[in-house]
Structures are given as C-alpha cells and as structure tokens.
C-alpha cells in the first residue's frame, strides 16, 4: 500500500480547493489536491455567469460598497446566514478579484462611453466614465442592488480556474487527479488524512497530512434533474458524515435554478435574465412582472423558480414529452450580443437542443442547482467535530448563503473562502506537530478494503446500484422539491429509509477490476442515500418557509422558532436516520431580520408572542 505524506491534503481541485492550496504553497508548505478529474475539469469551470465583488467600477455599480453587498447577501439568505461570515466575505471579495487579475484572469474591463443594456425586456442607455477606463467591470445578476458581478465573457469559472490552476502549477502544488477520497482517517478527535482509490488502477492509497480540507463541491447528483456535473455526487460530504462526529449544516437548503434547459438540465446562465432576457408562458406572454412588479425576472432565484413552478401549476406551462416547461426569450438581445457575451448559451442551444436562440425560444424549467448546506465549519473554515479538518466552497456550510445564495456569490465564495481558510490552514500546520497513530490508519484501511471486497464478492446482496440510485433520485424529486409539505416529505423520508436498506445490499455485476465505474457508483450509494435523508428529514422538521425551503403548509418565515441552523449527524453507520440538532443562525445580527423586499412577505417575527 502506497502511503503519501504531505503538510496539507486538499480533497478537491476546484476553485475552493486550489485557492486554499495556493496559500499553503506560498507559505512553503507541501500541498496535494485530490480530484476525480483533471483539476481544470472541476465543476467550477462550468460557472458561466460571474463573481460578485463590490468594486463599484461600472457606472451601474456606483455607490456600491461591501456594506451593500453584505446587505444583499443577508437578505438573499432570508436571514439564514451567519452574518459575521457574510461580512467577512463582502469585505474580502474586492481584493480577491484584484488578486485574480494579478495572476492572469482576463476580466472584462470598463469601456468608456455610451452603451445599450436591457432590463426586463426594455432598452436603456448607460454611459461609462472615461476615468474608470480599463478597470474591472461588472454586470447585473439576480437579487442584487447594484451591478456587481465581475465576469470574463461567459466563461468566468473556466478562466478563473485555469488561472488558479496555473498558479498551482507554478508553485508546485501537486494535483493527483483520477483519485477518489473514500474516507477520512481520524480517531474521533483529530483528522489525519484520507484513504483514497486510484481511478486509473483501482488501487487504494493512504494520504497522511497535518491538515486535511474538504473542497469537493456540491451534491446535486442525488437529485434527478440537476445542473450539476456528473461528478458532483457528494463524495466529500459522505466521508465527513461517515465519521459520526461531523455534522452537515442546513442540508434542507437546496437551491433550484430557474433556467435549466429541457431535457438535459444544462444551465443557461442567469446572465441571460440579467442582460434583459424574459420568461414567457404557453401564450408567449410574460408573467414575472405580474408576480414581482419591481424586480420581475431579476428577483432572487428561489423567488423566480417558485413563481415558475406556480405558473406551470396554473396550467400555463408548455407541454412537452419531457414534462411542462416555460420559455426563455433572449431574441431581442440581438445576434451580436448573443454570439458575443452570451456565446456559451448560444452554443448550448445549437449543440444540445438544435435550436437558434437568436430566432427561437429556449425551453426551460427550474432544476436543482446549488447546495447551500454542507460540511459545517466555523468562520475560519474549521470543521465542527474534528481537529485538523477544514472545508470550503460549495461542499462547506461556512454559511454566508443561509437559505438562498445569490447568483455570483458562490463562485466568489470559493476564492474568498479558499484564501481565508487556506491561511488558517497554514497557521494550523505551522502551529504544532501532529502524531500519526498507525493503529488508526491500519484500521481505516482495513475497513475500506472490507467494504470493497463486500461489494465485489456480492456477500451483502445483489441489488443493482443504478436502480437504487434512480429510486433515491426519484424519491427526492417527488417529495423534496421546490414546494414541500408534510405529506410529501414524510413519504419521501419513509421511502428513503427503505432505499437505504436496499443500498446496504448492493453487489456488483462485474468483477470490479481497475477504475470500475460500477464499483465507483457502489462505493458511494449508501452515503448518498444518507445525504438524501439529511435533506429530507431536515426539510420535514423545519416547519416554516425560508429562502428556497418552501413549505406549503407553513408559508411564513418563522423567526421566532426557526432562526436556527440544522445540524445533521449520522452517529453510527448502521443507523436508519440522522440525528438533528440546532444552533442559532448567526452569532449576531448586524442586519436584524426583516423584509427582503421581494418574494412572499409573511413573517413571524422573533418578538411576536404565541
């Protein structure tokens, strides 16, 4: 068995993981990132829209500041976020954008003079100042008071990830790609690294580290329809949950994106609506302006997704063999804009749908998009429950997003949190020695070997992993979607409990040799069903509506009883359900809970008596 020793082990080579590894590299520490795919193929590369930071260079961002960004973020979160973290984020974001520019990101820049922009389908003119020529510019994105989203045409995630990976290569940060982390090595108090499997040879490998970080992105693939890449399957969350001592925060906080294309659920960027794209129904009429007169299509995405689903339920969706959908109209933005700033969208329509968005409408529906919940950390990125374990990015519940994250805030989070947590990791490693206990390491390796053998030999049963996975995805899709209620959620939890039993009886059809995709799927199926149960049980117990968590039977946001974060633990591997605990949403409320100014406004305030 190969054992590799490093100062810092980062599980995940997306933006959050690599950004943190850079801090380690710059401090002279050795750092290794593990990744399922070559670093640059990580899901961060798929983010087209941009990153929010209050630089205020564009004329449309005048008067912007970290204060305003902070307020937008807290309102967006429906007061579910940790306000100290949101503050830290908003203050740090502008410097981080400049740092990325220094490393080589080709941000779009301010072009002085007049230009046309669209808002809610109407044409307006803006005039950029001569004085700001060449500074980093911004575009509009859902749910923000100012134009604040820095972008690189429509390949922001791609360009930033390439730049960050270039910086890693320069510093000698290693990336071990085609490697999956299976479990964490720990003694119940401290984390010592991870057991992994090579997706080239199938061999197990041990990584020992003074600090370990989880930066494995989202877990959207536990849903049936999702914009997430196929590798966003929760591997890091599973490793953390399996320790029994690390909680998942707010797993019920799942965001749906208004514009996934039908049928493949590929996302078309919010930039389409930001730039003036509109949503139309079966009669090719706009409807968002009726539900949300002020923000219309630009309201935050949980609000837009909810009204879209509502409108479809009113019978105003477009029928198709893949279910009902609505239309996204960007035709009026014109050929130059669509093939320029929105080129990726143009390519998606022509390549995957065979339609031309300059002349035709795009079929869209709300689809799972982002996991606000995840591995719970404190504001330094230190994971609850284990020393030496950190997390950042979408995998983490650092918690600046609460119950709804704003477009452009998560890509920004990856680099901001990656930088901050990376520095805390450096402090941690430089602050003391770690003693590795070989008995703990050997026991974990043995556990993983037995798990593999059990699946390959079929001694636990012969359930087909793909069928079990499909059952899990359907259960969530049906009972734990945009609109939720007691009946649907109870059924969902009950069927997931059964599906967990089936997951425990999975056995391979093949011999599992080498990378073995079947073994890959089988190794995570139990963990995925457990994550699904954390989502569904959290949603069932939370008897209020907040951000993207919408209970039809409890439509009000209830600050009196539910201004809290759910913490889900899986104490023993054989348990059938997670244990839920709660903690205050925020240590302090710089911005006291109030009205978001969009969406439903029924609120049970903390001051209200029974």
């Amino acid at each position: 068995m190969q054992t590799i020793y490093t100062d810092v082990l980062v599980i995940g080579a997306g933006l959050a993981g690599e950004r943190a590894a850079i801090e380690a590299g710059q401090a002279g520490l050795s750092a290794i990132c593990l990744s399922l795919v070559p670093a640059r193929r990580s899901h961060s590369s798929a983010a087209q829209g941009g990153m929010q930071a209050a630089l205020g260079n564009s004329v449309m961002g005048e008067g912007d500041s970290p204060d305003v960004h902070f307020q937008d973020t807290v309102k967006g979160s429906d007061w579910g976020c940790d306000q100290e973290v949101a503050r830290l984020f908003a203050e740090t974001a502008p410097v981080e954008m400049r740092r990325l520019a220094f490393w080589g990101v080709p941000w779009n820049r301010v072009v002085p003079g007049p230009s046309i922009y669209y808002k809610a389908g109407k044409e307006y003119e803006k005039v950029e100042s001569q004085e700001r020529r060449g500074l980093i510019t911004a575009r509009s994105f859902g749910g923000t008071a100012k134009w604040r989203t820095c972008y690189v045409s429509d390949g922001t995630g791609h360009s930033v990830l390439f730049t960050v990976d270039n910086r890693c290569a320069e510093l000698g940060v290693e990336v071990h790609d085609k490697t999956e982390a299976l479990s964490l090595i720990h003694d119940g108090r401290t984390c010592f690294g991870a057991v992994s499997r090579s997706l080239r040879s199938g061999e197990l490998r041990v990584y020992l580290a003074k600090a370990t970080m989880i930066a494995t992105g989202g877990f959207g693939r536990i849903y049936q329809n999702t914009t997430n890449a196929v590798i966003c399957d929760g591997g890091g969350h599973i490793a953390a949950l399996d320790t029994g001592v690390v909680p998942m925060g707010n797993m019920e906080a799942v965001q749906f994106h208004p514009t996934g294309i039908v049928p493949t659920d590929i996302l078309v960027t919010e930039g389409c609506r930001g730039d003036g794209g509109t949503l139309l129904d079966v009669n090719e009429e706009r409807f968002m302006d009726k539900y949300e007169p002020e923000k219309a299509e630009l309201a935050s995405r949980d609000v837009v997704s909810r009204w879209m689903t509502h409108h479809i339920r009113q019978g105003l969706g477009v029928k198709s063999p893949y279910g009902d959908h609505l239309w996204l109209d960007i035709r009026h933005l014109g050929e130059a804009h669509i093939t320029g700033k929105l080129r990726e969208v143009y390519e998606i329509c022509t390549s995957f749908l065979g339609l031309d968005p300059i002349r035709q409408l795009i079929p869209v529906r709300p689809t799972q998009h982002y996991s606000m919940g995840g591995v719970r950390t404190d504001k330094n990125g230190a994971v609850y429950g284990l020393k030496g374990l950190f997390a950042a990015g979408e995998a983490a519940c650092w918690d600046m997003h609460g119950f709804n994250r704003l477009g452009g805030n998560s890509l920004a989070e990856t680099v901001v949190a990656g930088g901050i947590v990376g520095r805390r990791i450096v402090d941690h490693v430089q602050g003391g020695e770690v003693l590795f206990n070989s008995a703990v390491i050997d026991a974990e390796v043995k556990r993983q070997r037995e798990r593999l053998d059990g699946l390959i030999s079929g001694r636990n049963g012969s359930e087909n992993v793909y069928k079990v996975r499909a059952a899990m995805q359907q259960a969530l899709q049906k009972g734990c979607n945009i609109f939720r209620d007691e009946t649907g959620l109870s059924e969902c939890v009950a069927s997931l409990e059964e599906i967990l039993e089936r997951a425990r009886r999975v056995g391979l059809k093949t011999n599992g040799a080498g990378a073995s995709p079947e073994l890959y799927a089988a190794l995570r199926i139990q963990g995925q069903v457990k994550l699904a149960l954390c989502v569904a049980l959290g949603a069932l117990k939370r008897t209020e509506s907040r951000g993207s968590h919408n209970r039809e039977d409890y439509p009000a946001r209830n600050d009196r009883d539910w201004l809290v974060r759910t913490l889900a633990y899986w104490r023993n591997p054989d348990d059938g359900l997670p244990v839920l605990e709660y903690e205050p949403a925020s240590p302090s409320y710089e911005l006291p809970p109030g009205d978001r100014g969009y969406g439903k406004s029924e609120i049970i305030s903390a001051e209200q008596g029974d």
């Binding site: 410097v95 941000w107 049928p263 065979g354």
Partner: protein, 245 residues
C-alpha cells in the same frame, strides 16, 4: 419508428488480466435529443456496467469526453446522434495513455505541458493588496480570453500527425497556450524566452501546418492564425538569435 443505433466500442481494461483489446457492439433505440452522453450512460446502466468513459459537465465546457467518433476526434457530450449514421464506432483518443475502454489519461499529459511551456504569468511585480488593479483595455482582455477558451480536451493533439509520430511534440494546444501569454501584457516574457521553449522541432518548427488541429477543435479556436503568428515571430527571433552569435 425510432432508429436502432449500433455502437461499436473499443474495449480493453489494462488492469484486468483477463482483458484483451477488442471491439464490442451494443444496440440502442434512439430517443429525442439523444447525445453520446445519454447513449453511453444507458449502455453502462442497462447493458454493461464495466464500460469505461469520461464525462463531467456533459455540456461541452470541461473537455473531459474527447473520443474518436467514426474516425474523428470530438467531444462525445457535444455529439447528437441525429447527426450520426446508424453505425457508430467509438475509439479512445490516441497519443494519450489508455486508462480503459474510451477513457484516457489527459490529466498527466496536460500537467506536463503546463510545466514545459510554463503556463503561468511571469512577472517581477508582486501583488499589492491596497492598490487598485492595473488597467487593461477591454479589447486586450477579450483577445486573451479568445485564446484562453481552450478546454484541454486533447482533440487537436489526437488529430495531429506530428504528435502521433513523436511523443515530445508540444501540439497545437501548447502553442496556443504560448500565444495566449504572448498577447497578455502582464506576462513579461520576451520573444527570446518563448523561443527557448518552442523554437525547435518539438515546438513550432515541428508543425507541418496541415491544420487537422483547427479542423477538430470543438471550441473553434483560431489555431491556424496562432500557429502562423508564432511561426513568423519565432522565425524572426531565430534570425535575430543567429546574428547575435
């Protein structure tokens, strides 16, 4: 009546002592808006769970799914079955090391490439937290992005005669990378520095200029222009170098 599609797929798992290179066929009924992503996953889930291939974004963005489709390298997720005949032959990309079936090791190849061309901004400056960013014309930013769009799928390398003949050839993707840094004012490298890297047979002078690379690039990168640009630039640098001696 939907078509029945026949997929002839290269099979070999080097990690399995019982496995020998061969072709397998699978038959699927075509469905609406079917791509090779949908087809291959169905084959794996319904017919042969050992079938190896790589997808990630399934949206033509991440470059994971390069393979040879009926003789032509391309992105599988980006390939609609309506555009294909009823018989589809799928092979792994050549040049890259085979992992199994249709899956190849692009990660290791590209990491080596970054190190050879030093794929990062070379600057003597250091970052100043308190300063406003250096200005850049938007046009320049867009020029850089135009070349930064490469998704490192490896299709251009797989299609390149030179790359298949000599494994030290850098390939169009690496030459494009150099061009990306050459247009970036933040990179302080001179033509002489670039010449050290690509002014030889492994680099720009090894290229035969037949442009199979540009032909297959799924991102339509202007590889022809970039190769021409570098050839001229490096030609001039070569002459200057001679005179300096």
């Amino acid at each position: 009546m939907p078509r029945l599609l026949k997929f002839n797929i290269f099979r070999y798992n080097p990690q399995d002592p019982g496995s020998k290179p061969h072709m397998d066929s699978f038959v699927l009924e075509e469905t609406d808006s079917m791509t090779l992503f949908i087809a291959l996953n169905r084959i794996r889930e319904e017919q042969d769970p050992s079938l190896q291939f790589d997808f990630c974004c399934r949206a033509g963005i991440c470059g994971s799914c390069g393979m040879v489709v009926n003789g032509r390298p391309g992105l599988a997720c980006h390939t609609k079955t309506v555009d294909l005949p009823g018989d589809v032959t799928l092979l792994p990309l050549p040049v890259f090391r085979l992992v199994g079936d249709l899956s190849v090791d692009t990660g290791a190849w590209f990491r080596e490439m970054y190190n050879k061309v030093e794929s990062w901004i070379h600057t003597s400056k250091s970052f100043d937290q308190s300063a406003v960013e250096e200005r850049m014309d938007n046009e320049v930013a867009e020029q850089i992005y135009e070349l930064d769009r490469c998704v490192e799928c490896g299709c251009c390398v797989a299609a390149c005669g030179t790359a298949r003949l000599r494994d030290d050839f850098l390939g169009a993707v690496a030459l494009n990378r150099i061009a990306r840094f050459a247009v970036d004012p933040r990179d302080e490298r001179t033509d002489r520095d670039y010449y050290e890297i690509i002014g030889n047979d492994r680099g720009i002078f090894g290229c035969m200029g037949l442009l199979a690379c540009e032909d297959v690039c799924p991102k339509n990168l202007p590889l022809q222009n970039q190769l021409g640009f570098l050839r001229r630039k490096m030609g001039i640098t070569a002459i200057k170098t001679l005179f300096r001696r």
